[in-house]
Every structure is written in structure tokens, then in C-alpha cells.
């Protein structure tokens, strides 16, 4: 479980908590070596000997009834253990109607084909459509009214490690290797299907190949089905989706439609109006919310109504800042449309509308970095290549969550950080090591992290950007408790008063005199010493501070007015997150949020065939995700200002990107493209038709 560590190039600076400087500027990700050499074991990589392979049988149409299924032929395929049909109706492409268990992946494939299912397709609804908006009267005090409809498509999470679980069943106990964002929630229901108390099995989740919100449902139906098969045969079981299944049935960012009717004055002041939103939730009962308005801007009095629309598609799940990117797209473009209609500069208008003084300072910095003064007024360019500049803003609250932590000093002088919660790629294990090393006063390279294991101290599921913010408080408390115990024992050995000793870069100091080295002190312990901590109101007060994260993004792009193709030049992303723990991984969170946002803006679209209801692009060549050649220069700026505490970072950087890009395209071509993705045909329509 111990991580291999690239040595940090310098000891951590011993600075007070909230001085506005990163705890580590140069620490590398602790699991970097495991990841670049391929030795990191993800759940999907765990294929226990004598395992049973399992896969779902799924509906290939938007809505269909299975008329005939040749279970006998499938069961007769060599290596097939069982075929179970649990239903005959599929309400969306990819809905499971049963499963197959077999001795090998090849036998599974043969059995699926031997089923020879004959389907009777039925009519399928494939989209939100154009629901009528009944808006109230024009808002009071408006000189003009803007009425517009903004839409966004279904975006799939497309985690590269698909959903699934590998279960090592060992008779009276088991290890659950789940690809999950919730190591602890993945236990739920597993006791029932395994027929085993939670004390007899544990969930291990050291590495997760992406989740972005789609792996918050514990072990999911994949894990529970694998658990049932493992228990039935008393053998290990492995069930992971393939790429098509991942697109079809593991959640998505729901499609959205936002209809605004908003009043504004000649000076650009927005006086309010109505916003009606719809979210396309497939067969799910809800989850299609659209965060519009965001409350970042003063838009006067807004009457907001929302409705979820059902159709024949897989249901949504939380997706990195659920509801926000689609709402921000509508909000930012709407503001730019008002700015253009009133002859105002969108930057100037945001300085006026934005509710946060700190974000105003961010706009000033961003405008300088992107070169905002080169921006030409919207609709004034006639060249083939047209330059555009755009802005978006973001914010995220700090949410409390339960988190415990334990830190152990071993006699061999290593320090073990113990947290059961998972690192889904954010750099959580690295951040926790840095927090502990800094708080204890030891070099980073003696710290090892045990993480992603339900037998370790409990931590939150990684949703809502809560993992680092809450676990770090537990870690700080655990490190302080440990330091106190440790120094008491060392002081007793040295025959001095405990309060007289300090740890400085590992050395045990009394005043400015080194009493012992770290190795000597740990060896003198004789046995391990540990300290525990928890996230609580007390630790929150002691180590953190109130406050949320915020940011702004600026986009510089070019539009080819003959082809409609958008070329991104640069994106500047200014983001606060309180005290920066690890500069490299923090910048990576910002860059990653921007890239997912630009991919959402330009490319991604889960397309359902309107005749059959089947997804036409359940793969990675026609479901387009931004690739290397699509990259602009991305400049993350960690805004530290005078922010205190450890604040959330995972979600906010992906919120404003699509909106900022849409604003920049509007600036370049003179007409807004109100539908994502910003496909070339839509851009050309906007150029030719005025209003798209």
C-alpha cells in the first residue's frame, strides 16, 4: 500500500498556514512513478485467478420488446456458466435486461451473439424538443427585452476506466476492487449480495481511471451484479463495461434548454425577467437542473422555473459541477448579447454586474493577461479569419463532509498517512502527504500514504469538491495530536520538558540546538506512535476559514468564416482555492477543468437516432473528445490574494469555459451561436443568417 515516492527536490518551507503561499511549489505527484510505468493497478486490472467474467445483456434500441431470446443456445456455448434474463423491455439503448456469466471474455462474446435476440422496436422519444415557454409580462423598468433560447447536448463522462468491479472472493471473506468515487459507499448493498457482513470484506480503490461524478453511486449495479455472481459460485468475479456501455448506461450531463426573456436598460443594466429551463433526464426521475442564473451577477429580479423532461435515454448522474456549465453557457452569452445590443464592452458590463469585489480584481488581471484591449467590437470584422475574445466566471461553495484521519510514525522513521477515501486523479494522496509533512515538520520523502481502502479511517465520497477540503482538516488535527504525543515521549527520553521541543525539517530541536535526528528519535520510540483527527466544527475553526472559491476565464480564439471552424489560441484561467497545498496538482485541476469545458463547448454530443432511439456514436471516434491537436495555450493562475483556509478546486474550473468560448465566437462573427456544441455548420449559420 505504500506509495513509491519521487524525492521532493527541497524540504517543505516551514511557513504559517495562511500566508497566501503554496505549501509546496515543486512536489511531484506521489503516484507518478506507478502511473508512468504501468504498475498502478486499477480495479479493471485486477483479474483474480479462477475468476468468472460477467456482462450485461442490453437493449440495442431506444425502446423495444424482446420477442425471442435463445437462452439455450447461449447457455450451450462452451465456457458459459449462466444466462439470466430479468426483463423483456428495454426503455433506452443500453438498458440491461439480464446478464451472462462465463469462464472467459471470449465465451461471453460468443454467448452474447448466440442469444440471437429478436427485438420489436417501439417509438422512442430522443430529445427535450421545444417545449412552449409561457413567460410573464415584460419586466418593469426595461428599455428593451432579450428573448433567446440556449441549448446544450447530452455529454457523457467518458471515464477512461469504465464502470465495474472486480471481486476477489475467498470463501468467507472478499476484497472488492471497485472503480468508484466512494470507497465507503461501495460497501452498501454488497453485504447483502455477498451474504457476508461488512466486517468480512473490504473495498480497495487505490487508483480510479476517471469518474467525474459518474462513479458516486457506490459499486453500482455492475458491482452488485458481480458480487451476486461471486457469492453464487464462490469464486472471484469481474464485471466491467465496454466503451459503448460506458456511453449508454453510466450517467451523463443531461441536455438542457434555457429560455430567457430578460429586460435591460440602455446602459446595459439588467432589470430582471424570466428564465425557464428544462433538463433532459432520459428515463430517470430527475437530476436535470440547470444553474441559471448563477447568482454571480446582479440580474435584477429573475423568475425561474425548471422542469425535467423524460425521453428514451440513459439517466443523468452528477457530472463535475452538475448543472453549472450548461447554465453558465446561457448566462454568459446572454450577458454578452445585452452588452452588444447596448454598445457596452462585455468586460466593463461584468465589472458592473458582478457581485464580488475579489472577482473584479480577477477580471482586471485576466484582461491584462489575455490582451483584452486587442478585442474589436462585436460584428465589426469582415476578414476571413476573425478574432474573438470572451469571458466567463465561476464560483464554488465549501461543503462540509465527514472525514477522519490517522497519522503514524513508525520506528523506521517513516510516516504513514492513513485515509480510506480515494484519489480519483486529483492528487489527493499527494496533497495529504504535503499537509502532514508540513504540519509535523518533516521532509516530504519520509511520508507515505495509505489510501483508498475501507479498512482505513473513513472519508467522504469524492463529489462536490469535498475530499481535500475536509480530509485536510482531519489530517491537520491528526498531525498535531501525533506531534504532541511524539514529543512527549521523546522529551521523556531526553529528560526535558515536552513543551521545550520542536520538530524542524525532521530534526528534534530544543531552542536552536539539535537534540536528535529524525531517525534517532523514531528509533528511540521502540514502537509506532499514532495520532487521530476528524473534520469537525472545531477543526474547521482552528485550521480553516470560511469562504468559497471563485475564478474567471478569458478566451482568445479565431473563427474561419469560410469553414466555420474555431481555432482556440489561448485560455487564461484565474482560480482561487484558498491556500494552495500542491502547486503542480492544483494547476492540473485547473487545466483539466478548462480542457473538459472546451471539449464540451466544441465537440461533445451524445447523438440518439430520432428513428430508432439508438445512440449513433457510442465510441471514441465519433463521440469526439478534445485531443492534443485541439489544444490552445492554457495558462492557469492560482489566485491566492488574501484567501485563507483550504477551499474547493475540483469543480469550479470547468464551469465558465464553454460560456467564455461562446462569447468569444459571438465577438468574432457578430451573431451568437446559442447551441452547443459550437459546430462549424452552426457557426456558418450564425455568420450567414445573422441570428442562429
Amino acid at each position: 500500500m505504500a506509495d513509491r515516492t519521487m524525492p521532493s527536490r527541497s524540504p517543505l518551507p516551514n511557513r504559517p498556514m495562511n500566508d497566501g503561499i503554496a505549501m509546496s511549489d515543486d512536489a511531484n505527484r506521489l503516484d507518478g512513478v506507478a502511473k508512468v510505468t504501468g504498475s498502478a493497478k486499477y480495479g479493471r486490472d485486477v483479474m483474480p485467478k479462477n475468476g468468472v467474467f460477467v456482462s450485461f445483456i442490453r437493449c440495442p434500441w431506444g425502446h423495444a420488446q424482446a420477442r425471442s431470446i435463445d437462452e439455450e443456445a447461449a447457455s450451450a456455448v462452451a465456457g458459459v456458466l449462466e444466462v439470466e434474463i430479468t426483463g423483456r423491455e428495454g426503455r433506452y439503448h443500453g438498458e440491461p435486461i439480464g446478464h451472462i456469466a462465463a469462464e472467459s471474455l471470449a465465451a461471453l462474446r460468443r454467448a452474447r451473439s448466440a442469444l440471437n435476440i429478436e427485438w420489436d422496436p417501439e417509438d422512442a422519444d430522443t430529445e427535450i424538443g421545444s417545449p412552449e415557454a409561457s413567460h410573464d409580462d415584460d419586466p418593469d423598468g426595461a428599455d428593451h427585452v432579450l428573448e433567446a433560447v440556449y441549448t446544450t447536448p447530452v455529454q457523457t463522462h467518458s471515464s477512461l476506466e469504465t464502470h465495474g468491479t472486480s471481486i476477489d472472493h475467498m470463501g468467507d471473506r472478499a476484497i472488492i476492487y471497485a472503480s468508484t468515487q466512494g470507497t465507503f459507499s461501495a460497501r452498501e448493498g454488497m453485504d447483502r449480495v455477498l451474504g457476508m457482513p461488512q466486517s468480512r470484506f473490504k473495498v480497495v480503490c487505490e487508483f480510479v481511471g476517471g469518474g467525474f461524478g459518474s462513479k458516486l453511486n457506490g459499486a453500482g449495479k455492475e458491482g452488485l451484479t458481480a458480487g451476486r455472481i461471486a457469492a453464487k459460485y464462490g469464486r472471484p468475479a469481474w464485471l466491467f463495461c465496454d466503451r459503448a456501455e460506458e456511453h449508454l448506461d453510466t450517467g451523463n450531463r443531461p441536455s438542457s434548454r434555457t429560455h430567457v426573456r430578460i429586460g435591460y436598460r440602455d446602459d446595459g443594466t439588467i432589470v430582471g425577467g424570466s428564465v425557464r429551463t428544462w433538463g433532459g433526464v432520459g428515463v430517470a426521475g430527475g437530476g436535470g437542473g440547470v444553474v441559471m442564473p448563477s447568482n454571480r451577477y446582479d440580474l435584477g429580479r429573475i423568475r425561474k422555473q425548471h422542469a425535467d423532461v423524460r425521453f428514451n435515454g440513459g439517466g443523468p448522474r452528477a457530472f463535475r459541477a452538475p448543472g453549472h456549465p450548461q447554465g453558465a453557457f446561457a448566462e454568459e452569452l446572454m450577458i454578452d448579447e445585452v452588452a452588444t445590443a447596448t454598445g457596452r464592452d462585455p468586460l466593463e458590463l461584468r465589472m458592473k454586474l458582478d457581485r464580488e469585489d475579489e472577482r473584479r480584481s480577477m477580471y482586471e488581471l485576466g484582461a491584462r493577461l489575455i490582451g483584452w484591449k486587442r478585442r474589436q467590437p462585436t460584428g465589426t470584422q469582415a476578414s476571413v479569419l476573425r478574432r474573438g475574445f470572451g469571458i466567463g466566471s465561476t464560483s464554488w461553495n465549501r461543503f462540509p463532509a465527514r472525514a477522519d484521519a490517522e497519522v503514524v510514525i513508525h520506528p523506521d522513521a517513516s510516516v504513514e498517512v492513513r485515509t480510506g477515501s480515494q484519489d480519483i486523479g486529483t492528487g489527493q494522496r499527494t496533497a495529504m502527504a504535503i499537509v502532514v509533512a508540513r504540519q509535523l515538520g518533516v521532509p516530504l520523502d519520509v511520508v507515505h500514504v495509505s489510501i483508498g481502502d475501507s479498512s482505513l479511517p473513513a472519508g467522504p465520497a469524492s463529489g462536490g469538491s469535498v475530499t481535500a477540503t475536509n480530509t485536510s482538516l482531519a489530517m491537520l488535527e491528526a498531525a498535531d495530536n501525533l506531534k504532541e504525543t511524539f514529543l512527549e515521549r521523546i522529551a521523556a527520553q531526553l529528560g526535558v520538558v515536552a513543551g521545550a521541543l520542536k520538530i524542524r525539517e525532521g530534526d528534534i530541536m530544543q531552542d536552536d540546538r539539535r537534540m536528535m535526528t529524525w531517525q534517532e528519535a523514531c528509533a528511540a520510540l521502540g514502537s509506532a506512535v499514532s495520532g487521530r483527527g476528524s473534520r469537525s466544527r472545531r477543526s474547521d475553526r482552528q485550521y480553516s476559514g470560511s469562504g468559497h472559491s471563485m475564478g474567471v476565464q478569458f478566451v482568445d480564439l479565431e473563427v474561419d468564416s469560410e469553414t466555420g471552424v474555431i481555432h482556440l489560441n489561448r485560455i487564461v484561467a484565474i482560480q482561487s482555492c484558498g491556500r494552495v497545498i500542491c502547486r503542480k496538482t492544483a494547476e492540473s485541476q485547473i487545466i483539466g477543468g478548462v480542457i473538459q469545458g472546451l471539449s464540451f463547448a466544441l465537440f461533445e454530443d451524445k447523438l440518439l437516432d430520432r428513428n430508432t432511439g439508438a445512440m449513433v456514436n457510442p465510441n471514441l471516434e465519433f463521440y469526439r473528445i478534445a485531443g492534443p491537436a485541439d489544444m490552445p495555450k492554457i495558462e492557469p493562475v492560482l489566485w491566492e490574494g488574501n484567501q485563507t483556509g483550504i477551499r474547493p478546486l475540483g469543480e469550479p474550473p470547468t464551469i465558465p469555459t464553454a460560456g467564455a468560448i461562446a462569447c468569444a465566437v459571438f465577438n468574432a462573427v457578430g451573431s451568437p451561436v446559442r447551441d452547443l456544441p459550437l459546430r462549424p455548420d452552426r457557426v456558418l449559420d450564425a455568420i450567414e443568417g445573422g441570428r442562429s
Partner: protein, 211 residues
């Protein structure tokens, strides 16, 4: 056994059969061809498991697999080498990238039996914890990874790029890695890592606001 190496490439099946049918049809097509013929004297084998020797990272590895098994499944399931990832299973994401006689290859698109006799290099063979490839070191230093699932494929692709083009321009890097997809969004750090691994200056680091 020259017959073995001339025919069954998964890519040619895909081209013949059409994308949609390819994944399922591969199995049946290979079997039809294999079972329809005399096993003696033609060099045709299968469909049942047969012994195979692959040269992986300089070692001869003896395995027993069905002839219709892809190189990727052979590595992951049969040889227990899970560094190469199955992400799309149809050659469009680069997650399963290996070097076959030095050429960058999507191992999900090649049958293992077509790789017999070839030098196969997987991510596990590029470097070890004690002796990392410069590409791997640079990936770590530039934090060119997050969840890490695409990373092995990108490391192999970057190594293949630098073998062919020792000092690539930024545009050549973007083109050279365009067979790979990263979902967390690490591309710009990857560009910097490849620039550094080829002895070039990274794109100017992010401006740090200490205000």
C-alpha cells in the same frame, strides 16, 4: 509458418466488415476461416487454444491462447501485464499503445499470433522505478497525468515520437500524440514533458500570481 503473419490483422477485418459489425464479427470470421480448413500442412490453426511465444520487453513469454485473441487481451489477461489499457477497444484512443518492432501499434487492433516473432515493447519495458525513461521522468515532473489511465499509452506514444523525431516542434508533438485521448485534460502538461524529454524548453510556465 509464414502464413501466420500474412493475414489476420484486426484492422483489415474492420475495413472489410464495416465498423459497426466489426467487434462481434471478428470472432466469427476468424473462426470460420480457421475451422473451414485442414489443420495439417496449411499452417492454419485454431479455433481452440494453441501455444504461442511472444517476445515481450526482451523476454520470451510462452502462452496458450485462442488464435482470435488480440495482442491487448493477451498482454492483459493472459500475460498479466496490465500497464496497457483497454479503453475504446477499436484503435481510436491510444490507451493500448505498444511498440511492435519499434512501430507504434494499437494492441487492440492486432492479433497476438500476428505479433509472434516481433519485438514487443510495452510500457512496462520502457523503464523501471529505478531507471525511468526520460519521457517518464518528464511526465512526472510536469504533472502530465491525473487519473493516470491514459498515461501508459501516452508515454509509449511519446517514446515512439521521440524515436522518430528526436526534437519535435510543438505542432509535431500535437500531431504525434493525436492518436491518444486523455479525459482528465493533461495535454498541455504532456507537451511540456515531451519538449523537456527532447532537450527543449517547455512552453512558458504559467504565470504565477503572488498578489
Amino acid at each position: 509458418m509464414s502464413e501466420r503473419n500474412e493475414g489476420i490483422s484486426r484492422r483489415s477485418f474492420v475495413q472489410t466488415l464495416g465498423m459497426g459489425a466489426a467487434a462481434g464479427a471478428l470472432q466469427g470470421h476468424a473462426e470460420a476461416r480457421l475451422t473451414g480448413q485442414d489443420e495439417g500442412g496449411t499452417g492454419i490453426v485454431g479455433p481452440g487454444p494453441r501455444p504461442i511465444t511472444l517476445r515481450i520487453n526482451g523476454n520470451d513469454v510462452r502462452l496458450t491462447i485462442e488464435p482470435a485473441t488480440t495482442l491487448l487481451d493477451t498482454l492483459r489477461v493472459h500475460a498479466g501485464m496490465t500497464g496497457s489499457k483497454e479503453i475504446c477497444d477499436r484503435g481510436s484512443c491510444g490507451g493500448c499503445s505498444v511498440l511492435v518492432n519499434g512501430a507504434l501499434t494499437a494492441s487492440c487492433m492486432m492479433l497476438a499470433c500476428d505479433a509472434e516473432g516481433a519485438e514487443i515493447t510495452t510500457v512496462e519495458g520502457l523503464g523501471t522505478e529505478e531507471a525511468l525513461d526520460p519521457v517518464q521522468e518528464a511526465f512526472i515532473r510536469h504533472d502530465a497525468l491525473q487519473c493516470g489511465y491514459c498515461t501508459p499509452g501516452l508515454v509509449v506514444a511519446a517514446r515512439a515520437l521521440l524515436d522518430a523525431t528526436p526534437r519535435p516542434s510543438l505542432d509535431e508533438i500535437k500531431q504525434g500524440l493525436s492518436g491518444n485521448i486523455c479525459r482528465c485534460g493533461t495535454y498541455t502538461n504532456i507537451f511540456n514533458a515531451v519538449l523537456e524529454a527532447s532537450g527543449q524548453a517547455p512552453v512558458t510556465d504559467a504565470e504565477v500570481n503572488r498578489g
